[in-house]
Amino acid sequence: MSNRVLVQAADFDIGHELARLEALGGGGVASFTGVVRGGGDENGGFAALHLEAYPGMTQRALDDVAAQAQARWPLLGLTLIHRFGTLFAGDRIVLVATAARHRGAALDACAFLIDWTKTRAPFWKQERFSDGTARWIEQTAADASTAADWDASAEHGRP
């Protein structure tokens, strides 16, 4: 199992990250990239997205999420990279990628990793607007229930 879990301010190279997973000998690599939303009327005046992290705990929490995925699916490797700091529309926020012998495990583990990262890693997002105001984003009930669904599926004996 080859895990790569990083918390960083810098951007990452998706091609490089996927190539690493493709080289592990499996038949499938799945990935999800989270990007700062731009444009659209509901984003009028949006200037930047600021991500606050909890130094020390954030790395540990992401390591725990990765270990959970590893325990639930037969993965050959995974990558979980989450940025912090001030990001702009179109910037990458997070990359989750998985490699497995077959696509099912790769795809399911990829979805699990991003769902759990959203609710179990200490990050807080703040939208900043061009008029100088800012707004902390609230956790949605949908995010919480999607993450909880994975708990329920584990209790019913399937990964």
Binding site: G34, Y54, H82, I114, P122, F123, K125
Partner: protein, 85 residues
């Protein structure tokens, strides 16, 4: 011995600092009581801790429920529900 308290996101903004070292009285046994004790300071503390349903905590860098005991803790963080990903 003091406990390091850390604040994040709007909890940090309301209080106006990112952390402090505190020495709560012996009858403050769990996180909820600690929040009550801090909120009694008024001002930004009262504002940050007005709605317990919007608060989460970690003890020594592990998520914990608000009724978790604080005995033996060296670092307690108070923050809103997380919104990463």
């Amino acid at each position: 011995m003091g406990i390091a308290i850390l604040y994040f996101a709007w909890v940090r903004e309301a209080i106006g600092r990112d952390g402090e070292t505190i020495d709560p009285p012996a009858d403050v046994r769990d996180v909820a009581a600690l929040i009550d004790w801090l909120a009694a300071r008024g001002g930004g503390y009262a504002e940050a801790f007005a709605d317990r349903a919007r608060l989460r905590c970690a003890i020594d860098q592990r998520f914990a429920p608000l009724d978790a005991p604080i005995e033996g803790a060296t670092e307690i963080a108070l923050f809103p529900p997380v919104t990463g990903g």
